[in-house]
Symmetry: C2
DNA sequence: AAGAACCGGAGGAGATGCCTCGACTTATTT
DNA sequence: AAATAAGTCGAGGCATCTCCTCCGGTTCTT
């Protein structure tokens, strides 16, 4: 309550030990949320940082704020990746490189997966960051399609599905085979390639981004009766 | 305690109303576990059946028993599908047909997904049923590979991964786009096809079935500290 | 009509998760 | 070195959730 998350200009600086602890909290949060997902407790984070729960709650009013503080910068990183990928000359390399990079990030960080693929937490900054990266991604897709390398019936809204699939494999097998997601992604990317002799068309062509948005709202929502 | 799940020969038949309620319970369980997964409560099942909780607990000693009673027969169905697929003359049609059928079943039934992809519940009958269908699946894979239609670096242990991926999409988008999993499966199957000019080999070739078994043990396990 | 079998759903027992509070410790200032 | 503002700690309150039991009342069967 009395303390902002970001070091605002008006707020006096933290005491040295407090600042040190603040960093420990963020590091531990990254570790704990990355491994156990956003369901992890602030008690867990505190314990992992070797601090008391009270200390964490003094610095961050609640879990939401801590999560938001952690992830906003990482989402910027992803947006930058998309822009950098647009600099790559070969359209297929650009697209595939971006996909590999983002899926790799997701595979290491369950919390990131959950925040990228869900809206159910209601962080404004996060939603904005996600919206901001759509144009670059759209360009990546369209460029690779124009070059005849990415199959034409793919759409930017397929990327969340790709992340969902690889992410679920990472979650499933991460404990025993941490790189197995690569196998699945390779398979998917071979399916994304434009093959001259391919007969099949993908079903469900009406896939629109706002359908995915709706899915993001319902996913991981506290269970509703019915 | 006093009542078995299966109608044993020695047990006297249920009273007519009790038998009717027993069926209602099983129907509701199928519905509820199918929609909300194995985390659903027996209270939910009872309420959905228009019965009291006590009635359910009188018939089934606990959740495990009810779940096992529900799913053993469905697992037999899947095993039968594999055997029937082996009757199909074209090896690719046989393999792809089997995959579509099973993924379709999974997509409709979250409980089935969870029980097929996890060992964490410890039902013996279920484990046996799963083991029994391995040979037929192996044959399906090898036959399609021998015919040069299925890419050669695929392995029976990839099927659980396929189910995991499509299942996660079904869970993700099921509320808003119930058929979207078909799109993803089509993509994956195009990736599975043996393409003559394909350069890439799948990474993680050491994938063995027992690695998947281990994953099944850890997945959906109650969270452990650390 | 009598007795056995059955039904219902409040609520006990136990987990779990979020967060507060007040006694205690440490840094900073003068 | 003393004063004081800032920070720390973790037991525990409150709320929620799930599994399951219990027993007064109901329904079936003979």
């Amino acid at each position: 309550m009395t303390q902002n998350t970001a070091p605002a200009a008006t707020a006096r600086p933290l005491r040295r030990d407090a600042e040190r602890n603040r960093r420990r909290i963020l590091e531990s949060a990254r570790e704990v949320f990355g491994r156990r997902g956003l369901d992890a407790t602030l008690d867990d984070v505190a314990h992992h940082a070797g601090l008391g729960v009270g200390t964490v709650y003094r610095r961050f009013p609640n879990k939401e704020h801590l999560v938001e503080a952690m992830f906003t910068e990482r989402l910027e990183d992803i947006a930058d990746l998309a822009k950098q990928a647009l600099q790559v000359s070969d359209p297929w390399e650009a697209f595939v490189g971006f996909v590999w990079q983002t899926v790799e990030m997701h595979s290491h960080d369950r919390g990131l997966r959950e925040i990228m693929l869900s809206t159910a937490f209601g962080h404004e900054h996060v939603a904005e960051a996600k919206a901001r990266m759509v144009p670059a991604i759209t360009q990546l897709v369209e460029r690779a399609q124009a070059a005849g390398q990415l199959r034409s019936d793919v759409v930017p809204a397929d990327l969340p599905l790709l992340h969902q699939m690889t992410g679920s494999v990472a979650e499933y097998t991460g404990q025993v085979a941490p790189h197995l997601w690569r196998r699945c992604l390779a398979l998917l990317i071979d399916g994304l390639r434009a093959e001259p002799g391919r007969a099949s068309e993908l079903p469900c062509p009406e896939l629109a981004m706002d359908v995915i948005d709706q899915a993001m709202c319902t996913w991981r929502q506290p269970r509703q009766h019915g």
